[in-house]
Subunit: 152 residues, 2 copies
């Protein structure tokens, strides 16, 4: 782990989470460092695991998103384990959270349309082991879709 992140680190990480397509020189201008200094900081983020990877973001409005709230039948560790494995195997599962509260899991499905959604919900959720019940909320408008996380 790096000791602590300074102000430049936070600014850099915010910029990278917003748009990592920038050149090292552009980033350097924005935070007041040389390209190589920026480079070395980014290397450090990667080494420490703070920065996982870079991804391209596809326009989400071309897809059908659905938020599913899932409750399991039993609370045994084994029941959770098999459920997780089952759901994780599906590529349509965009996000998958274990949560506190009335439900056990939140699953966000990304499909190409209602036909695909039905098929996927059937296969991934309805057929999941230890499922008690679930409800689905369809996304009418994906107002904001980021993975941005605060760094301080």
């Amino acid at each position: 782990m790096p000791k602590t992140l300074d102000d430049i680190d936070h600014r850099l990480l915010a910029l990278l989470q917003q748009d990592s397509g920038r050149t090292l020189a552009a980033l350097g201008d924005l935070v007041g460092l040389s390209p190589s200094a920026v480079q070395r900081r980014i290397d450090r983020y990667r080494e420490t695991g703070l920065l996982r990877r870079e991804i391209a973001v596809v326009d989400p409005s071309s897809a059908l998103l659905a938020v599913c709230l899932v409750t399991l039948d039993r609370e045994s560790p084994e029941s959770h384990r098999s459920f997780r494995e089952w759901v994780q195997a599906a590529p349509e599962v965009q996000q998958f959270y274990n949560v506190s509260g009335d439900h056990d899991y939140v699953v966000i499905l990304a499909t190409s349309g209602m036909a695909h959604h039905r098929e996927t919900a059937e296969r991934v959720i309805k057929n999941a082991p230890n499922l008690r019940r679930y409800s689905t909320m369809f996304v009418l408008d994906p107002i904001r879709t980021t993975l941005t996380v605060p760094t301080r």
Copy 2:
């Protein structure tokens, strides 16, 4: 809009959504094209808006994630508009969806800890205009966090 995406386009987009850090040559090897052909296809995705941007992904386990289900007080267009503006102004709002069903919105908050979460929930949700009620589910384990969307 491009006429239609062929099989190579789909493979390319899947690879880019998974990891856009690869070189054009590496992508070319994976899909069977020259670097410049890959380049031109990616340019097209960008021009047509299919590809929005590239982002760096920060390890989500270093943050506190919370899924909030929100119901508004009134259903008037004006009520929705002001609520959206209010919520969108907060940087802690990682994702923001208008959904069908019992609730109106799903908001995913990313904060640096419980203190930050409380402050944020107070400011962003509780003080939001036209709020009727909301519930919060804390993320115990972010099993999968992507923005991957199917392209076919």
